[in-house]
Amino acid sequence: MILSAVDICKSYGSRKVLKEVSLSCREGEICGLIGPNGAGKSTLFRILLGLVTKDSGTLRISSQAPKPLGGIIEKPALYGYLNAFENLKVFSRIQGLSCSYETYRNLMEQVGLSPEREDPVRNYSMGMKQRLGLAIALLNAPDCVILDEPFSGLDPIGIRALQEQVRHLAREHGIGVLISSHNLVELGDLCDRFFVINHGEIVKEGPAREILQAAAGRYLIYGHGLEDSATLRLLQTEFRKGSVLLSPGELPIEDILKRLTGETEVSVTACIPQTNLSILFDKEMI
């Protein structure tokens, strides 16, 4: 276990922000921290990164690296008046690293940034800033990276590219990744494990797929001939143009899909789970 937080508590005055929060992350594992706004995600990340002091609890980091944890909190914070190369230089020299130009170049290429660009980073798009923020987080080879809302402000292409980079870091370099996002679909596709936090408490923990599946209240099904389906007529549905929003009730979704594909006049092209947030954020262990 690279990172292990046990019973972390934090209060601001009389307001308890974190109540005995425990989570962990292994080498090469991608863990997602999800929760509504104000649940305590950013405070927890700030504590893990040493920016905020905890009131109580234990934080264990099993790493011999000079920089055990790297991270980005909310949007990447960069020196806007410097270019990407200078930002990397400043952040590496701050931690006593003396890297060659080639090292910076490789790092920029690793996160998909062009080393040729020399204008100040204030001109960069959010996607490029996120990539540079990631490159800075990766300076000094940390064993674990904490990314708070890294997809915010990114277009779908940017999200996909960042997902690929995170996956690459975990799978190829064995870096543990702790990531938070409001984008549950993207996070579900990326993460191995989920920690669900609400009102400062971890309310659920487990494999990402299982947690999302358990919270999938309804399914959006795309296809042809859905209006004429005998199976759907028996279920609670809401027909839309080319799709149907389905509440499966007692019947498992796998069975419904089998029946639909068995109907000759119906073809299903996609089935997207619609996460029920009140179920997801509800305090109930799976």
Partner: protein, 275 residues
């Protein structure tokens, strides 16, 4: 040292550094142009009666007088520019949240904030260096040399060579006061974090200090240990007899204030969460 070098690099790459240097030159130019057009008239009124009894060598509207006028910007203008720029070194990091990004790296809060204070000190000396060199060069180039006339408690006259020495030392001694203001502004930035509030309080601090300086206190304790009364020691260089003991005492006390205020800023920064 690496951290200080990086801080100086950041200062060098920020536009506000060059605005500060430009402001110094604008101030100098303004003083020189005003002196050129109105200085002679003012001197004539001031010396109307004395000219009948004494003979003055050379033109009294000369480089030394101009340098003395620029030196008087140590009362308010130069500290104000310094306080705004120096506090911005930290408030801009709070605004852009780069202070978070830096402290996520393996660097201690103590080392980071100490480097900020030390680089602010170097920046202050650098700005003063530019001010001194440019003032002396421009003033002597455009106005030449000559005797210096100064009105403090009364009129004092210094021969050109002596005037140069006194002016040079006044700048050196005044730099202690400027360092004090720079450190105060950085500590205000630590405490307040937000740029506009810091600027307003820095300006208020400066105004308050200047007002208290004008007040006469009966007690020696207030005269020698109350910080507003310690910020004028450079002015003592223009008394006929230079009170070296007083200058030394005031500067040591002011340096102690500077260290204590800097230490408070460092401690608060260390203790406080970054959120």
């Amino acid at each position: 040292m690496d951290l200080i070098r990086i801080e100086l690099f950041k200062i060098y790459r920020q536009r506000k550094t060059f605005y500060a240097i430009a402001a110094i030159f604008v101030l100098e130019a303004f003083i020189m142009v005003s002196a050129y057009f109105q200085g002679r008239e003012f001197l004539d009124i001031l010396l109307e009666n004395l000219r009948e009894s004494f003979e003055f060598r050379g033109d009294l509207l000369n480089g030394n007088l101009i340098i003395y006028l620029v030196l008087n910007s140590f009362w308010f203008h130069i500290p104000l520019i310094l306080m705004i720029v120096v506090s911005g070194f930290l408030t801009s990091e709070y605004k852009d949240r780069t202070v978070e990004a830096v402290l996520i790296q393996p660097v201690s809060k103590f080392r980071f904030i100490t480097a900020k204070y030390l680089s602010a000190l170097i920046f202050t000396l650098f700005i003063l260096g530019i001010l001194v060199i440019s003032t002396f060069v421009l003033a002597y180039t455009f106005f030449g040399t000559g005797d210096l006339v100064v009105f403090l408690d009364g009129l004092s006259f210094f021969e050109s060579r002596e005037a140069f020495t006194r002016l040079a030392y006044a700048f050196v001694i005044g730099s202690v006061t400027m360092i004090f203001y720079a450190v105060v502004s950085l500590t205000l930035a630590v405490l307040l974090q937000e740029a506009t509030i810091t600027w307003i309080l820095a300006a208020l601090f400066l105004i308050g200090t200047t007002l208290f300086l004008r007040l006469e206190f009966e007690s020696d304790l207030m005269e020698y240990y109350f910080f507003p009364k310690l910020t004028d020691s450079w002015q003592y260089l223009f008394y006929a007899e230079i009170p070296l003991g007083v200058i030394l005492k005031k500067n040591v006390a002011l340096l102690l204030y500077t260290v204590v205020i800097g230490w408070i800023g460092i401690r608060v920064f260390q203790k406080r969460d970054i959120s």
